[in-house]
Amino acid sequence: MEPISGVPAIVAMVAKVLGLFTILMLVVAYATLAERRISAWIQDRSGPNRVGPFGLLQPIADGIKNFLKEETLPATANRLFFVLAPMITITPALVVFAVIPVAAPLATPWGVVDMIVADVPIGILYVLALSSLGVYGLVLGGWASNNKYAFLGGLRASAQMVSYEVALGLSLIPVLMLVGNVTLTEMVWQQQQMGIWFALPLSLAFILFLISAFAESNRLPFDMPEAESELVTGYHTEYSSMKFSQYMIAEFGHMVTASALMATLFLGGWDLPGTWDNAFWHEGQLIRGFAEDGSVLMADAAWWKTLVTFGAFGVKTLFFLLVYIWVRWTLPRFRYDQVMALGWKVMLPTGLGYAMLMAVTILSLDTVGMTYGFTYGLVLTGVSGLATLAFLFFIDRGHTIAGAAALNRQRAHAARHARGDNPAGDGQVVLPSAVGD
């Protein structure tokens, strides 16, 4: 099986770009409908069900409406950045998908086509670099609107993105150590080799990545930049028509991309259980795996394998999309200081500690001479499971992200202290703000 080359390769590339872009835009459009329908069902409503059967044409109606709406431009807005900001936001959200492998390689009469738009060697670094570019659009839009709510939204967006970018990167380090490479195809391949998807051997990294991804895509419970109840709609308060729509597409595009990333990094990407679908380019050959004696087992690409694995990838991605929507309509929004506390006091140290723990574990396993495979994964699963339990126990007791109950207790303590009624005499400092009420 030879990789595709020459003119057919260019045709295949164009087809992949167009196809993937179309699918992505369709998923984004229908994610808006899914969000409205699912939120309605959760709240015992019906949701939009009038346009077309089951409301299936609603995204199209929304699109037409957005095109026909009046485009407003605030008189005091910075015209250049106001127009530029939605474009800056939407582009990274859409192009990140280029490095995510969506299915097993497809066999064609002209050669084997990789089902990935750009298998760039920098892989995940490209994703991190571009997804953090999106925040510029938010900040610029908020600032250029010359509106205090939009401005606060933009500020919050920048602070939140910076905070959680750190945790996101740290949660990826164990994955990179385990895979030994940064391309996403290699990550899928290593999960196929291990026989366990990384959600188990790297469970804590998975949890950290999930939380950070929520924060990165500004979804509830982390939607501080939008925060309807506080900031009207945050950074896009002044936007209307297609500019508003661009922000919406960017938000949902971010969600889809983050879902696809989580599926690829932690749920095996397009992999299905068993070795029948494994495929990877190894020294110019498409291989399925290695035999006991180190010789390669050849893979045979087939169109039905591509189709089935694409379906698997789609199901995993849609599962995370469902989780996104489900969480949004369940959990209330964090307070701003809680978001920052969670990011810097919980996620950052946990990510660092977990990276250290995994480094030690992987190094020990390699030193002992255990070969990379299923048992290797089981040992990692055990270690990570313990770390996850410890982490959950730690954050679950209100030690770090304290809710209102802990605040009340602190206030009561401070009030006692202010009255001079301090039997413990532990010399705690009383903040003026804590004594007020």
Binding site: I38, W41, I42, Q43, D44, R45, S46, W326, V327, W329, T330, L331, L392, I395, D396, R397, G398, I401, A402, G403, A404, A405, A406, N408, R409
Partner: protein, 166 residues
Amino acid sequence: MAISVKVMERPEPEETSYLRAALSGMALTFKHLINPVKVTQQYPEEQTDLHPRWRGTHRMEVHADGRPKCVACGLCPTVCPANCIRLVGGEDDQGNRYPIVYEIDEFRCIFCGMCQEVCPVEAIHVGRHFENAEYTRDRFVYDLDRLMEQDHPTTLLWDPSDPRSE
């Protein structure tokens, strides 16, 4: 009646499990997601049964020969608290009084139903009807012909011996 306020006890932070609370919340919403409580009425397809004493837009009863039952006694414009009925009465050759002009401004009307209660010949009625949308405002002044054309069910008068219409 005073509003009763239930003050919830805040649990101590050591007793609080945010994780369990979040997960039980997720379980609850998932239960509703897969098995929603159906309360929405799909309005144009499913119509509500209006109460027998629902008071909607008016309707004028007519005789078998097509004349309005109204005898232009002038009681309804007199009793109308919103002053929305305009009546100009006339008399024919036999000495029967009839309305020359009978107009009800449905925008001014407060749908109290007193016109129906006061009518001695049971001519004017408020109706069990609510779909009154029009494209222009002047269409909301119903003249005599319009009132006679209405064919929706009329409202039952309040019966003191059966105050809840049971």
